[in-house]
């Protein structure tokens, strides 16, 4: 087992060197940083699915939450907004939200005053409606005002350090995961998958359209880096290429430190009693319940922990590319890709998830240039035999990675359903 893993990682290393040699250092260095962030996200999913057997298909939503969080913390302060009436209006909207929450809470407790059954249901629905109207009546003018030129366009950031933003991304993702988990963790696998997809689409619609909060499709950039930018190295007298590599190397080191700490922590958790309990819940939750484990609470716990890693990873990706663009998030790129990473790598094994994340990210990014090269060859051949060239090679090869991803997962399910580095089941003799 160990030998096989070492062999696979050695192969991966050779692949990275090969890509670096063919595609050049600037391409490879930024892909590696992204791979580290994706590895973090894949570890998050591995906790949820591999340790706990939870079917989270809403990864995209958590990545967006992380991205929005790091934007909010680290983007520069917007003085126009703070000087305008915007904060006061937002405060009123927040008050309206609190009042609405109070109304709904009150309606749900209506049986205390003798209203129950159908009447209580009707009252609850009415309370939700009133709360919604109340909130919208305060928020809509505030949003319109902030989005106008007088309001500053959007609320701006806090100008904090990006690493703080990563942490905040984790915290925010945890909060949202808690709510989502409370709502949907009681559901069976298929229902849970669909519910989480639905929730992540709601999150996407909100972040995309709340221009006052996230700037929406207008995008925020540039978002500062936690490590010195290439420009800083250039100012120190380096030439462009070396500065680029040095700056990305710095970011990569920081990302790898975070990754190593996380990997160490979750590996310890996996080997400890907590991890054993989680696996027992995953394999047979009825037996686990009969042993006195609070299955619902434990599942919520693991859902939140996994989502924290997704939030941090999502924040890292955004601060690396320096732009938060809500319309660039797609279920294929940000949910299904992560699932393929974990399943191909080996669900339940951290090294497997790590391996799968780096391998799949490399496959994902090289399949476009690779298929372009193949198309060019075929096109040359078809021109020679007189059938004419293949039209729109660029656009077509850009779509090939989706096909390649589907092919990889299909082959993996058929021939290595447990993944390349499967979970090690230890049995006490």
């Amino acid at each position: 087992m160990i030998q096989r893993s070492l062999g696979l990682f050695a192969g991966l290393f050779v692949l990275i060197l090969l890509i670096g040699w063919v595609m050049g250092a600037p391409f490879t260095s930024s892909r590696l940083v992204e791979a580290a962030a994706y590895a973090l996200i894949a570890l998050g999913l591995n906790i949820q699915w591999g340790y706990g057997g939870l079917f989270n298909f809403g990864i995209m939503g958590f990545l967006m939450v992380g991205g929005a969080a790091v934007t909010f913390i680290s983007a520069p302060v917007n003085p126009v907004f703070w000087g305008s009436e915007g904060p006061a209006m937002l405060g009123r909207a927040l008050l309206a939200f609190a009042a609405g929450a109070l109304i709904v809470w009150g309606a749900r407790k209506a049986d205390r005053v003798g209203i129950s059954g159908r009447w209580k249901t009707a009252l609850t629905v009415l309370a939700w409606f009133v709360a919604y109207v109340l909130y919208r009546s305060q928020l809509d003018p505030a949003a319109a005002y902030i989005e106008s030129a007088v309001g500053g366009g959007w609320i701006g950031g806090l100008g904090g350090h990006p690493v703080l933003g990563w942490a905040f991304g984790g915290v925010l993702a945890a909060g949202i995961a808690f709510v989502v988990g409370k709502i949907s963790l009681g559901l069976r696998t298929d229902y849970l998958a669909i519910a989480t997809i639905g929730i992540s689409e709601i999150i996407r619609a909100l972040i995309k359209n709340m221009d006052w909060l996230t700037r929406g499709t207008l995008t925020v950039s540039p978002i500062p880096w936690p490590t010195p930018l290439p420009q800083a190295y250039q100012a120190g007298g380096m030439d462009n290429l070396t500065a680029l590599i040095a700056a990305r190397g710095g970011f990569l080191v920081l990302a790898l430190v975070v990754l190593a700490v996380v990997l160490w922590l979750i590996s310890r958790a996996y080997a400890g009693p907590w991890g054993r309990m989680m696996r027992s819940i995953r394999d047979n939750h009825i037996a686990a319940t009969s042993m006195g484990k609070n299955v619902t609470a434990r599942q919520l716990e693991i859902f939140v922990f996994g989502s924290v890693l997704m939030g941090i990873g999502g924040a890292m990706l955004v601060s690396f590319v320096q732009i938060f663009d809500p319309s660039s998030y797609q279920p294929i790129n940000h949910t299904f890709l992560i699932w393929v990473m974990v399943i191909v790598g080996g669900a339940g094994n951290n090294w497997g998830a790590l391996f799968g994340a780096v391998l799949l990210w490399l496959i994902w990014v090289v399949s476009e240039p690779l298929s372009k090269a193949v198309f060019d060859l075929v096109s040359m051949w078809s021109t020679n035999v007189g059938w004419g060239a293949i039209p729109e090679i660029e656009a077509r090869s850009a779509q090939m990675r989706v096909f390649v991803l589907g092919l990889v997962i299909t082959i993996a399910l058929r021939f290595a359903p447990k993944g390349l580095i499967p979970e090690v089941v230890k049995r006490e003799a």
Binding site: Y191, I194, G198, I202, A205, Q399, V402, T410
Partner: protein, 334 residues
């Protein structure tokens, strides 16, 4: 009356059209779930693939110079449905049957269906690019405008020819499906297997045949839904991928495994989406004359802004899962 006609144009017609498409897609999903017990994500690709098959056939018809009285898309629909059914059978044989034989869990099949989604999506994009196509490049999309000045409306009632045909075709196929499920031997076998697969098998039902029939029905209906959606709007590679979750919502709201529930759920979600973004001011404007100045209606008074239209389905989905996870009609247990 103008207001009522406006309401009909904006809510009743668009909700009905959307509801029909959701219903046809959801029936396929719910049948597959009932028989094979897994959420078939690649249904969206059956829809898109079916629509592209129909598009190719329609283009071929146009190239041969065949002119039809109704839009060519509807004429080629039966052929496209047969081809889509074969495609569905092929996908099952190639991807799901080997996993089932190994005794894989439904979860694995779900992930496999996502793999199929990605592959079909990739292939469609490979051949057709990322652009959009229209069935009405060579023929015109007829728009019926009913002048209703006689009953005091300044606006005409607007409905397009594909929309009329779509509602009729959906109605006919739902009726046909109803008779198939309740009257034919195979249909009864399907319902028996959905209720209890083991019991169905020991009572001599050919389960392998039932599985094949399920794929044929689901594939054909998916092709119908996809083609009609493409006829109503435009054909693009992510045509159905974007609406697969509302379709799942329709199937769950109706109760997974319940064919009639799926139809009801589809119409419910369709109407809910059009109602939620409807601008009530347009209908209630006459009230402005009687209302005091401080209570004049704002220019837009919709339940949710238009950009959140698709979210309505997700919110309904989440609420239904919370309040009644088995759906309106009791479906497979959660």
């Amino acid at each position: 009356m103008t207001e009522l006609v406006f309401f009909t144009n904006q809510v009743v017609i668009s909700g009905l059209v959307l509801g029909c498409i959701y219903a046809l897609g959801a029936v396929g999903i719910t049948l597959i779930f009932g028989i094979l017990r897994f959420a078939h994500f690649a249904h969206s690709e059956l829809m898109t693939g079916g629509a592209f098959i129909a598009f190719l056939l329609a283009s071929a018809f146009a190239a041969w110079g065949i002119v039809t009285p109704i839009p060519t898309g509807f004429v080629v629909l039966p052929i496209a449905m047969v081809l889509a059914a074969i495609l569905a059978l092929g996908i099952d044989k190639g991807f799901y049957a080997p996993l089932r034989k190994r005794g894989a869990k439904p979860v694995t099949l779900l992930i496999a269906s996502i793999g199929v989604t990605l592959m079909v999506q990739g292939l469609i994009r490979l051949f057709f690019g990322a652009g959009s196509y229209s069935f009405f490049e060579t023929e015109t999309k007829e728009v019926f405008r009913f002048d209703l000045t006689a009953i005091g409306s300044t606006r005409p009632l607007v409905i397009t020819e594909p929309q009329v045909l779509m509602v009729v075709v959906t109605f006919v196929s739902v009726l046909a499906l109803h008779f198939f499920l309740t009257r034919s031997r195979l249909g009864k076998a399907m319902r028996a297997m959905a209720d209890n697969a083991d019991l169905a098998q020991v009572s001599g039902i050919n389960t392998a045949l039932v599985v094949r029939v399920t794929w044929v029905v689901a594939g054909a209906l998916a092709c119908m839904a996809g083609t009609m959606l493409a006829l109503d709007v435009t054909l693009k590679p992510d045509l159905a991928f974007n609406i697969i979750i509302p379709i799942f919502a329709a199937a769950i709201v109706g109760g997974l495994g319940q064919a009639y529930g799926a139809i009801a759920g589809g119409l419910l979600i369709g109407f809910a989406e059009s109602l939620a973004v409807f601008n009530w001011t347009m209908v209630l404007r006459p009230l402005n004359a009687v209302l005091p100045d401080w209570l004049q209606l704002p220019a837009t008074l919709a339940l949710v802004p238009t950009e959140y239209k698709l979210t309505v389905a997700f919110v309904i989905l989440v609420v239904v899962l919370l309040v009644r996870p088995t759906g309106i009609f009791k479906g497979a247990s959660s």
